[in-house]
Amino acid sequence: MVIHYLKRAYSSFAAHVFDIPPRLLALLLFMLLIFLPITKPDDYIQRMFRDIFFFATLAASWDLLVGRTGQISLGHALFFGIGAYGTALLYKYFGFPPWVTIPIAVLIGVSISPLIGSPCLRAKGPYLALVTMVLPLILNTLFKYSPLLPITGGERGIGPLPPLIPVEFFRTIGFSGRKAYPMVDLANYYLGLVLLCASSIILYKIANSKTGMVFVSILDDDLASKACGINVTRYKLIAFAISSLFAALTGATYAHVITIVNPSGFLDITLSFLPVILTFLGGIGTLYGPLVGAHIYFIIHRYVLQTTHIPYLTGTQWTFTRDLIFAAVVIILIIKWPRGIARFVTDKLQDLEEARDLDERGKWIWKKYKKEKTK
């Protein structure tokens, strides 16, 4: 009896609270994040959020390709790395400032995408997945060792790279001496937020355009799509290009945030895997999924896990175990919620809403029936 009332109470609560349009929620979150640095949080936390912004963008670009168009890419690190190495090499050999090297690096990344995409997306089969999985790993090896070593700096990588907004700028506006440095970090935080918002808006617009509809039609049934006159291969290439654009942009920008570009930071398999986890944690195929997932992942990974320790395990042992637990958790999550956690939650809320509607209608019908009976 009590359970029944609790359920009723919850569903009416949910109806009121969660009826808030998602755009309003997004705006609220955005406001929160803008004002966060004013609360003077730990450096560590600020940097955690900064990373959330960048990797959420990376995950969102992956989700467009995989969740919305259905083309499985397992090597998003590739474009992330190309963007990063592109801007680094341009700086190393030409000395251009970031606002020149970044767009060029992005252009390079986008030009490469049809080279990989065209053969893989045209052929029927799991080719894109296999090729994209292998490519960044191969580049990783190639960059680390031999012939390209003098160019790419091997494992040590290329650096230091100039930050996006140089220290001198802050000095000229009044932050003297050492006080300028934290401002650079702050600038990185906000630039990351800007990147996330701008790319989210653009991806949102794409998703709600005819192109976005075509993407979903390809995801659902690419054969029927062809029967509707859609050049499926061309749209797959477009999705791949947009996705690689944002990935390269994120990579190039992030390179200037952490000021050093090396294989383990930008071409590692864990980086290919990261957008996948983030998207799955949040909800694949949605727009908010990668964002939510990024928050969940980083807060748990950086904050919760860093501050807890299991006794008996030494440093490296704990790192290995932690990664192992993480991979295991991902497996469990996907089996239980194949469409992502946030998706599961929103689906449940929708069910509750429908149930509530039915409930209301049921009650109304019952009342009418009773009235008729007593006449």
Binding site: I72, V134, T141, F273, A328, I335
Partner: protein
């Protein structure tokens, strides 16, 4: 030098074919792309070394020839990994079968778990690689007997699988399911159990390949990243030979192995470029003839 190329290529060919065979088998029968396949390869080598380490000191003093002890260890390792494979299928893959994205994510996670296990094991033993004892010590005709054994076993297993698939009832079921799953189910074939079995066989083959890879190609060392390079090569083999074709895997395996050996020997610093070789071959095939040499014909969908 030509002799070395021929021999190295042949050995690698046998091993790679065996590894790729497991991968293409599970794909052909159930449509699952098991990205953790070469992870089984690595764990197999680990389990072999561990059981060898336990059994040798116990059985050798009793007068049992080391070779047989190690063969026993190999069989144990293969059975364990096959069981793990079956369990993995049942618990992890079966719930999400059909959802290709989820399966790939899950298998990649699994591969990472295997890598972490390997790293933890190495950390505990304070080693940088797992030593894998050779079956046969000494050399014949300038070639380590070990390598000959590897080649011989690979080819034997290959032929056994071929016979199994073409002649036995279960093999027939596998072929049926790989052609049309729904009809096969209508005919009463229990796909769940079949997939589990296929996974087990696939994992067992990977184990044998892994053990021989470590003992022959890597000269007795099993480092924690040993699963990467063979992964690239198996992808290339499977795409070249045609996904789902056993013949193709055998032929493709030797072609890739020889290409890699030639590159390693003839091009300066070739050893480093070898991963790129797999990639180039993959791209070429996708461009020219995506279904590979003997792949299943996928026309409309």
């Amino acid at each position: 030098m030509i002799e070395s190329i021929l021999i190295d290529g042949a050995i690698a060919g046998g091993i790679y074919s065996l590894l790729a065979l497991g991968f293409t088998l599970i794909y052909g029968v159930s449509g699952v792309i098991n990205l953790a396949h070469s992870g089984f390869f690595m764990i197999g080598a680990l389990l072999f070394a561990t059981s060898g380490a336990f059994l040798l000191p116990v059985l050798e003093p009793l007068g049992v020839i080391p070779t047989f002890i190690l063969i026993l260890a190999l069989i144990l390792a293969a059975i364990s990994v096959a069981t793990i494979g079956g369990i993995v299928y049942k618990l992890i893959i079966s719930p999400i079968i059909g959802d290709d994205v989820a399966i790939m994510v899950v298998t990649v996670s699994l591969a990472l778990i295997f890598q972490q296990i390997m790293l933890l094991a190495l950390d505990a033993a304070k080693l940088t690689y797992i030593p894998v004892a050779p079956f046969i010590r000494g050399a014949t005709w300038g070639v380590r007997n070990e390598s000959l054994l590897a080649f011989g076993v690979s080819v034997t297993l290959f032929i056994s699988l071929w016979i199994f698939i073409t002649k036995s009832k279960i093999g027939g079921a596998m072929r049926a399911v790989s052609q049309d799953r729904e009809v096969a189910m209508l005919m009463g074939i229990n796909t769940e159990r079949l997939y589990m079995l296929t996974m087990g066989i696939s994992a067992a083959f990977a184990t044998v390949a892994g053990v021989f890879y470590a003992s022959s190609v890597l000269v007795g060392q099993a480092p924690p990243h040993m699963w990467l390079q063979p992964l690239f090569s198996s992808f290339a083999i499977v795409i070249l030979g045609g996904l789902g074709s056993i013949k193709g895997t055998l032929i493709g395996g030797f072609i890739i192995a020889y290409t890699e050996t030639l590159v390693a020997y003839l091009i300066p610093q070739g050893g480093q470029i070898v991963p790129a070789v797999s990639l180039v071959i993959i791209m070429l095939i996708i461009l020219i003839r995506p279904k590979g040499l003997f792949g299943k014909r996928i026309e409309m969908e």
